[in-house]
């Protein structure tokens, strides 16, 4: 398999389109016959990451790079940033609004879910500038 890269824009506060990048990528990975458990892990990470950009971040970008050995998911945004990453990573920590909670989000489990499902995860954030989350998945089945 040669390397393939796809990118999508994510619009801040656009709840109607939120999740479309992850669903498109999920379908692409199915067509590529990637292992279904791996696809689920990538889709869950993508979707939680996308929802975070839409809810908490600014306009952003969702890029996936698929190689024989590994799949790299980069989700970045130019939003408010995360002042305390260690705190944001805690299970249950959330700054989500009541409106987010009414949509079923804001349980403070997104970043912990992403960390659990990715083989490796890196977060960089500069308050006032934005956030970058990189998740790496090893493509063991190929």
């Amino acid at each position: 398999m040669s390397s393939l890269k796809k990118c999508f824009n994510i619009r801040s506060r656009d709840f109607i389109h939120a999740g479309e990048a992850s669903i498109t990528v999920q379908q692409l990975l199915k067509q590529m016959r990637i292992d279904s458990a791996l696809i689920r892990r990538i889709a869950v990470c993508g979707y939680e990451g996308e929802m975070n950009v839409v809810m908490h971040g600014g306009d952003g970008r969702f890029c996936i790079e698929i190689n024989t050995e590994r799949i790299v998911l980069d989700i970045s945004d130019e939003g408010a940033g995360i002042p305390d990453i260690a705190r944001a990573m805690e299970k249950g920590y959330s700054t989500a609004s009541d409106a987010h909670r009414e949509m079923g989000f804001g349980a403070g489990m997104g970043l912990p879910n992403m960390e659990k499902n990715a083989d490796e995860m890196f977060i960089e954030s500069v308050p006032g500038c934005g956030t970058k989350v990189r998740m790496i998945f090893f493509n063991r089945s190929t």
């Binding site: 689920r40 869950v44 939680e48 349980a107 403070g108």
Partner: protein, 117 residues
């Protein structure tokens, strides 16, 4: 158990997917928290929820949920039904509360998402 039996037990109506009553279901989960659905072993399950927004359907697509049942007679708007239809996810609506719907399906033999009872 077949989806048609799930519908019968819950006295539920199909909002879409009634052309596939033979889908096999053996586990169920009830939640209004989408991150919980995403974190659990929810693939091939029935999701019982009171949330009828577009994220409920997208969460089901991402996590591989087979069927969504909306409790307390809730019904999503037509565009949300159309999205579920596009992704092959039957949607049902039951007059039962979350408690009753879970109890009835448990009683009929469905397991939790981890396969335990």
């Amino acid at each position: 158990m077949k989806l048609s039996l799930v519908a019968e037990i819950l006295e539920a109506t199909f909002l879409c997917g009634e052309d596939r009553p033979d889908i096999e279901i053996d586990k169920a989960g009830g939640s209004d928290l989408m991150s919980d659905v995403l974190a659990a072993l929810s693939d091939h399950s029935v999701l019982l929820t009171g949330l009828t927004n577009i994220q409920a359907v997208k969460t089901a697509v991402i996590s591989g949920v087979a069927v969504i049942v909306f409790v307390r007679d809730k019904k999503p708007s037509p565009d949300i039904v159309a999205l579920a239809e596009k992704h092959g996810i039957p949607l049902l609506s039951t007059p039962c509360s979350m408690f009753l719907a879970c109890g009835r399906l448990y009683n009929a033999g469905l397991t939790g998402l981890k396969g335990t009872r």
